[in-house]
């Protein structure tokens, strides 16, 4: 059993390390720590300029939560895109596809949590985020649910990095969708109905509501339904993503290439 865990750990670590240069200190600090802080500052100061007295509370919370799934799926897409030229290795080895799939994002998730915490900490230290009313049990439960949904969504999106040539543009689109449709900045009730209808199918939507409830001091029981919904979204994405990856494998074996997009 220990050997299994050790192998899964190695798989996760080397999959992360080999995929992209985020282990370089400068790049890591820039992407994982600084970028979410800059997002928080941008939106919060814009809110203050627009005269919102509660800009810190609204936008620091929203943007800190937003940074969690976006960092994770950004890195997962980057990692899978690096496998485009290694499809024969990815699909040629005899190891468990499920184990590979499930362990792939562990370190990306840790990065997502680091980004989330750095944004919140900066907001608290420099932008006036009020932590006094926080119910910490709800906070932890909501964070855990958002983290689970984030890694589920990233596991689902990641394989698209194998087939989408302009994965940076694709990543940008997904980031935009999460920013606008989940309530991170614009309350979902104010969105046009067709856009508002997409939100429940995205990670963060329910989790962020629970997270905001934590900042209003509400107990975990009050947020239980939201937490369940967030977990269900994450689980669904995990399942669909795995099917997707296996489908890509079948298609790649049949076509002899992963370049379905013509790239």
């Amino acid at each position: 059993m220990m050997k299994l865990y050790r192998n899964l750990w190695r798989q996760s670590f080397y999959g992360y390390k080999a995929a992209f240069p985020y282990t370089d200190a400068g790049t890591w600090i820039s992407n994982v720590m600084a970028r979410p802080i800059l997002f928080v500052v941008t939106f919060t100061v814009t809110g203050r300029f627009a005269g919102h007295p509660d800009a810190a509370q609204a936008y620091v919370i929203g943007m800190a939560a937003y940074s969690l799934p976006t960092i994770v799926f950004d890195q997962m897409l980057l990692g899978y895109s690096g496998d485009r030229d290694m499809a024969s290795v990815l699909f040629g080895v005899s190891g468990s596809r499920l184990a590979t799939y499930l362990t792939r994002g562990l370190f990306n998730l840790l990065n997502g949590l680091a980004a989330f915490l750095s944004a919140l900490t900066f907001g608290w230290l420099f932008l006036g985020l009020d932590l006094a009313p926080v119910n910490w049990v709800t906070f932890l439960a909501a964070t855990s649910a958002m983290a689970f949904a984030a890694i589920g969504f990233a596991s689902f999106l990641g394989p698209f990095g194998l087939i989408v040539r302009d994965f940076l543009g694709f990543t940008g689109l997904m980031q935009g969708a999460v920013l606008v449709l989940t309530g991170a900045i614009i309350p979902r009730g104010l969105l046009p109905a067709p856009l508002a209808a997409v939100g429940p199918f995205l990670p963060l939507t329910a989790g962020l509501e629970a997270f905001r409830a934590a900042f209003r001091g509400e107990g975990v029981a009050a947020a239980a339904e939201l937490l369940q919904r967030e977990l269900l979204v994450g689980l669904s994405y995990f399942a669909v993503g795995y099917l997707l990856l296996r489908t890509f494998e079948i298609l790649a074996r049949r076509a002899g290439t992963i370049a379905f997009e013509g790239g």
Binding site: F43, V45, T46, F49, D166, G169, L173, Q175, I185
Partner: protein
């Protein structure tokens, strides 16, 4: 000599421009900016003040222009490194700084199209008319900001490639302290002070003064300062490109350049 350089700048500009727009290569990147622009415009719309929304609509245009302008020279240099053509550029009799300047211009001009898409998006979201008290002052201030964007991008190109290769959030840092989304006086002091090193922070002060109808001196002085700071960036560019060229000739390659 000058006509030859102008010819080179024109050709490099055209080459870069065609590369940028070939096959709608930038389309997905443009579309992906829309949600961020919409979210920021929505925040402005909540103010209910035309001066704020007008400032944001103009600032969002510049934010997008800045994205393109900054991204361009950095990628242009890196492309030359990856394709192994950088050395050939140095053998050419056209100074390397002119090559990157022409590419920067192409990227800045290329940023106008997504910038206008940002403006349309923002106007649709804010659903308010734009309100400018001093149109002539606004045009002058916008000119100052355009000069600031181009010169700062040119100077930052060698910095981001050589010294800040791993600092991929440079673009985000610059947007925070650029003044595009708010006058930099709204920033905490830790960010407000460095923001004054960017010409755009002064230029956008001029934009705000023109929008709210402040005295002419409140427009002229910041615009003049932005132009002086821009001139400083041109000098800085010459020095930094000299460093690049010197290193290449000494070492035979840009060994410190990273992705």
């Amino acid at each position: 000599m000058l006509p030859r350089y102008l010819h080179a700048v024109r050709q490099i500009y055209l080459q870069q421009w065609r590369t940028n727009v070939r096959g709608g290569a930038d389309l997905l990147a443009i579309v992906s900016l829309v949600p961020t622009v919409a979210a920021l415009a929505w925040i402005g719309q909540q103010s209910g003040r035309n001066t704020v929304t007008t400032y944001l609509v103009i600032g969002l245009f510049f934010m997008v222009l800045w994205y393109e302008s900054m991204r361009g020279p950095r990628w242009a240099i890196m492309d030359e490194v990856w394709q192994g053509t950088l050395e050939s550029s140095f053998v050419s009799c056209t100074p390397f700084i002119l090559l990157v300047f022409a590419k920067t211009l192409a990227h800045t001009a290329g940023g106008v199209r997504p910038g206008l898409i940002a403006v349309v998006t923002a106007v649709l979201v804010v659903q308010q008319g734009l309100d400018v008290a001093n149109t002539v002052g606004l045009v002058a201030a916008i000119g100052g900001v355009v000069v600031g964007v181009t010169t700062a991008s040119l100077a930052l190109a060698p910095l981001t490639v050589l010294a800040l290769g791993g600092i991929t959030a440079t673009r985000n840092i610059m947007v925070v302290i650029s003044g595009f989304l708010y006058p930099v006086s709204y920033l905490p002091p830790v960010l407000g002070i460095p923001s004054r090193l960017l010409p755009t922070s002064w230029g956008m002060d001029g934009v705000y003064a023109a929008i709210v109808g402040a005295p002419a001196s409140d427009v002229i002085v910041p615009v003049a300062i932005s132009l002086v700071v821009s001139a400083g960036y041109v000098v800085l560019s010459v020095v930094l490109f000299g460093v690049i060229e010197g290193r290449l000739r000494r070492t035979g390659g840009l060994v410190s350049a990273r992705g």
